[in-house]
Symmetry: C2
Subunit: 768 residues, 2 copies
């Protein structure tokens, strides 16, 4: 496997310009703050391989659906996160010659993503065509303190000549999405202004009328001192900038500091954008670059206090887990309940930046344990707010009642248009119900049920009740024509996971209704009235719960992937020619569908979610049957398997699977990091450590731990928030140490023994 | 139901300009000769609703595939029959004012498709804006005697004024396909020339380099006498024409006769096209319009002698069956084994003019019985020639051996890109094998097996042998992940029809190998060697035949559509709200898939093909189960059901189903005739009469008949060719009359009684 980056516990380091794989590095070195994100494109011109990407959270475009053959029920559009105004750009000329490192000799190239303090640094020396040599340094960040602010410091030092360095900082809104279905550009110009030392550009999406106003201001420094310049202004369609020149002697550093504010009509009225952006920009400018950067470093240090995982004895694992946590924290901050987490976050266009069930299945647990509960709560409320759209979606497919949440969405409407996914991968509805259970179970916030939860649970339950049908042949309720999490089979009947999560949703909805009825009677009456929920519906739900059909293999005592699964030729992944892996790159779709190979956890996903309901032997039998048939060709697969393997004391297997998820992007394991990082699966990596190696779960309102340490590690530690208590769990070869970092006592169950840890105290449990 | 056209036994008549539904009439009134085809677009300008369509058989374009989500194995392009040079066009101006009947008052409009003699006639009077009135008549045809020739006679008579009539005959190659995936035009110009009285245009496809050279020459007549004109020439990109003016007194008819030859690089070298086309044009011009038309009438009368069906007592049925036969004969003549039959023939762009299994399943029987055997043979050889491509196609999907014929093709390569069809609707391979059986069985031409048949049969059998897998659970061979003829379910397992036709193919291949071995030993050895066919393969085939799994319902004693079909909610079509029909226009795809409704004959298709292997009770039980669940939303469905109903003595049902197929296009039953006529299903209509009401089949090399007459009809008669004998079968309420119109005696089995009919004699059997 190619080694792309240097190992370091706190930094991602690239020590050579790799022009062939530059797009991979651009993804990895992305920076973001939950409000905006930026791929690691170069500030100066670059004619080599690059995927330009500047993204503003929540700004999307309804790009007309592209389809070979239309099916009734398909959505009209696919929502795409928009590649928006390039605000980092700074053209550089050296005595009139443009700097473009694709076209000159580059030495001492280094790119560093400083995860501890949240910035991106780059340096190199370039021999340009004229023979002149310059040293360049660039540092930039998007602020997590002042979310609209980004800043770049870019310096050039002539090494073997004296001459003129020209900087042309700009804002370029003439941007396109590489994934545009019809090669259209999505932005049009609203207004612009370029003056000496500053510029403003407002653009607007051609549909939906999102406005983005970007403002820039900059200083030029020579040998660290402010330099008076008189710039020329640049203006063209959707583009503003300046051209400023500085004469520099040999070894004299000249630098530009560019401050940018990006404000949008999601937060301000369009006519107020320029003024609002100007105020924010002035405030940041007044603070100055160094102060902004120091705020940034402090704020990141605070984040790490809550969410860091420390691994000793394995720097590769240490770097990987921090990279995952860093990217997750860059992508979603939970402050805005209109936002969610796209599978690639702000690191690429792929998957349209939209919301998938990844959020509920993988991200909610991460935010539950590493942040205030309101963060996960906001992720839940996002779906609550989209309930009406989910009901419309069910109507569109012909259901009289209930809600079917979309597979892929930006505003609650379905965007995806493969029938086998759009119409059939309905298990997503189950994950959305499960996230409510998970949230309430973890936080103890049962009030959520009456406030928001029941509306969603009841409508999802209604969908299931209509989606099942009674088989006169089986004398059971069946669910026909679905795609499970294993997308390597489509239109199957009685996918065990789907049937199980459907019945479980009905059970939990009845339980939740019971809780609210018993504890908030008047709220209960309100809800029943509002939802027009009839007793007969609940009677039907109970009948479905009791008479749901679950495919099983009696002989092996396992739950069956789907009806007819055992008719497939049973081969194991280990018996495949490794050259044929991943099968999705080597096999026809036809062959994949007919094979027994499973893309990602499916039966096992159900056993993971519902592990409190199944004994270990059941989980073991299913794990031992399915894991060898699973190709893990979704980034969401290994983590679930790793956690279950840990639970089953298969420590080597747990570690092996953990490795597949931890450095997925850093090692470009799936050969697709150039499109962006697998943000949502990073939460799965975190889960592998905390739920897998840490064995963390909540049972009967108590935090429980069953830690073990992978053989290669000396120790590892993680922090979790649990019901307003922050604890740190440190596991070494022979001890488990738990620090209670808060002002409240907490009772924790460790390997089935309860321990009380007093406020600000710790305990050590000796394990050898 | 809207009545579009007048009833008449030999003509299709439209007696009013229906501007809203003009595209429907354009389809219905299409003319063609197997070499080229032309929708009934108007010669003069028309700004109303129109779908321009001029097609040259075998000239297609590999239009880049359009897809929402790519799957491994998809084809790079979709082949489209090309809309090509508009050669019928004649602009008309009246005292400088353009004639456009969308923009003036039209009276006495009449359009007639004369099926007996093969031409299209149109007349109307128009009040143009200036208040001038003209009478217009236009007659045109594409010659079935001189295939490259088309001719138009177009006359204008001023009714209330004297003035100048301007004709501008043209050839317009600046044409686009409405169904172009990326809005491209597919033709570029090669050369052109316009002179007084004539013009030439050569265009070339932008891919694959098909050349089309069109030449025109014309006369102008005044009161029937040749008129000397001096025309202006017109030239622009991909366009040539003339402008000629005639002064006409009140009630003086002026006319233009336009002769066109269209020649292509399929028949001539590109550099020889202009000369070849010129020769052909000159020859036709020398004959003159009246002679050409009279040749055309005679040739069509000959065709009718072989293929007419006469129905007395039901003019609607009479007109319909003739329309179907006429369109089939216009579409395919069997002279060119590189050609095949597109589902819409030359009447529209839809389905790309490509080849489907429709040809083998529906068209082969028609041509077998109504034309020389070489016609059907050429349809078979078409597939033989594409065998290498079918092998490549199987390799592409990962099969080590065998051939999978494409679902949709122009040159043997797959064009279609829906995985559930492209990869899964593999039963098409069975129909291609079946057509060989059908051809040999009907014609007795067993030499075909050794010559071409075995190659195809062996490679298809190899495909089946690899496509099945042995289910350790069922202890049977299964076929997983298929779509049957019923496209309203996808990716099912053990579709009875597919399993049965697969096993049948193996049986027939073994039988055919045996025949060739026993009768042409040296040829057999050659084939075995060439195909590298090993004994073990045949052993495996026999094992599959013996151990194939067939889903059944024991209780109902029926073959089961597919595994799990009985888990579906069982509803009958008659219980659906008629407003929800057709379900494909009213239901989401999801709902359709989950329902028990069947799009077209599936189990019953198998029982139709293999009726010699099943007793009537078996067919009856299956018919009575499936027919009520079949929505017949493919035009290919009712005919098969009608034939089986006839066989089962369900005469009313047979007639009811016949009505759905017979006037499908004339009554625009499926609401899509505007896209073109359902050419391939027209062969199914013919089958309904001959195989259904006539009860025709071949048993033990003998023609057998079991006729009955629908209650509404007084009599019907049809002709069939059987092994060089032409017989005419006439059925009335109380007699069956069989004329032997050839010089050989023939033995026929009628209602299980054998009769010998001597050459040129007839017999009458009294049935009441």
């Amino acid at each position: 496997m190619k080694k792309y980056f240097e190992l370091d516990p706190w930094n991602i380091i690239q020590d050579k310009l790799d022009s062939e794989d530059n797009r991979i590095a651009e993804s990895i070195f992305s920076i973001g703050n939950g409000y905006m994100g930026q791929r690691a494109n170069f500030e100066e011109d670059y004619s080599g391989e690059t995927l330009q990407g500047s993204y503003m959270a929540g700004i999307y475009y309804p790009d007309k659906t592209r389809v070979g053959w239309w099916k009734n029920g398909y959505p009209e559009y696919f929502a795409k996160v928009l590649n928006s105004t390039n605000w980092i750009g700074i053209g550089v000329k050296i005595d009139g010659e443009a700097l473009d490192i694709a076209k000159c000799k580059v030495k001492d190239f280094k790119r560093v993503l400083n995860m501890k303090h949240g910035y991106l640094y780059r340096t190199f020396t370039a021999d340009i065509e004229s023979g002149k040599k310059v040293k360049v340094e660039a540092k930039r960040f998007v602020s997590i303190v002042n979310k609209e602010i980004g800043a770049v410091k870019y310096s050039v030092t002539p090494l073997n000549f004296s001459g003129t360095i020209e900087f042309s900082p700009f804002l370029d809104g003439d941007i396109k999405n590489t994934d545009s279905n019809y090669d259209e550009k999505f932005w049009s110009e609203v207004s612009k202004k370029a003056e000496n030392g500053r510029a403003m550009l407002t653009v607007k999406t051609k549909k939906l009328d999102f406005y983005l106003c970007s403002l820039m201001k900059y200083d030029i420094l020579k040998q660290g001192k402010e330099y008076e310049y008189k710039a020329k202004t640049l203006e063209r369609e959707k583009f503003v900038g300046n051209i400023a020149q500085v004469s520099a002697g040999e070894n004299e550093e000249v630098a530009i500091i560019k401050y940018v504010s990006n404000v949008t009509s999601r937060d301000f009225k369009p006519e107020e954008l320029a003024e609002a952006g100007e105020k924010i920009l002035q405030k940041a400018y007044a603070k100055g670059y160094d102060e902004l950067l120091s705020e940034q470093a402090k704020a990141w240090e605070e984040k790490w206090k809550e969410s860091d995982i420390i691994i000793e004895g394995d720097v590769s694992a240490q770097q990987a887990i921090r990279f995952n946590i860093f990217q997750l924290n860059q992508t979603y901050t939970g402050e805005d309940d209109r936002l969610n987490i796209g599978p690639k976050g702000f690191t690429g266009e792929k998957y349209g930046g939209s919301t998938y069930w990844d959020t509920e299945a993988y991200c909610v647990p991460f935010y539950l344990a590493t942040a205030d509960k309101k963060i996960a709560r906001n992720l839940l409320i996002y779906r609550y707010k989209q309930l009406e759209k989910a009901k419309e979606n069910a109507r569109k497919l012909g259901f009289k009642k209930g809600a079917l949440y979309p597979m892929v969405t930006m505003n609650g409407e379905e965007c995806h248009n493969e029938w086998e996914i759009t119409f059939e991968e309905i298990h997503r509805n189950g994950a959305i119900a499960y996230a409510i259970y998970n949230y309430v179970n973890y936080t103890g916030d049962k009030a959520y049920l009456g406030e928001y939860g029941l509306d969603v649970l009841v409508e999802i339950s209604r969908f299931w009740a209509e989606r099942v049908n009674y088989s006169e042949q089986k004398h059971k309720y069946v669910i026909l024509g679905v795609t499970g999490p294993n997308e390597y089979e489509n239109n199957v009947s009685n996918n065990w996971y789907t049937n199980r999560i459907a019945a479980w949703t009905l059970e939990y909805t009845i339980e939740a209704l019971g809780y609210v009825k018993d504890n908030e009677a008047s709220r209960y009456d309100e809800i029943i009235k509002k939802l027009n929920l009839e007793e007969t519906e609940m009677v039907k739900w109970k009948d479905i719960i009791e008479n749901m059909y679950y495919p099983v293999n009696e002989e092996l005592k396992i739950f069956l992937q789907q009806d007819g699964y055992m008719d497939k030729e049973q081969i194991l992944v280990k018996d495949l020619d490794p050259k044929e892996l991943p099968i999705n790159q080597h096999w026809s779709w036809d062959r994949i569908l007919r094979s027994c190979f499973i893309k990602q956890a499916d039966v096992l996903q159900g056993l993971y979610f519902l592990q409190h309901l199944y004994d270990k032997d059941t989980i073991r039998r299913n794990f031992e049957f399915y894991e060898p048939r699973t190709v893990h060709e979704s980034s969401l697969s290994p983590c679930i398997h790793s956690i279950l393997a840990a639970k089953l004391n298969k420590e080597d297997k747990a570690y092996e699977l953990y490795l597949r998820t931890a450095r997925l992007d850093l090692d470009n394991y799936n050969n697709d990091t150039e499109d962006g990082c697998h943000i949502t699966s990073m939460a799965g990596t975190w889960m592998s450590v905390v739920e897998g190696f840490g064995g963390l779960k909540v049972k009967n309102d108590m935090l429980t731990l069953e830690p073990f340490i992978p053989g290669k590690w000396d120790s590892f530690s993680f922090k979790v928030m649990f019901r307003d208590t922050l604890i740190k769990v440190s596991v070494s070869k022979d001890t488990i140490k738990i620090n209670n970092e808060s002002e409240k006592d907490i009772k924790v169950l460790v390997r089935n023994t309860p321990y009380v840890i007093n406020a600000l105290k710790s305990i050590i449990i000796y394990t050898e």
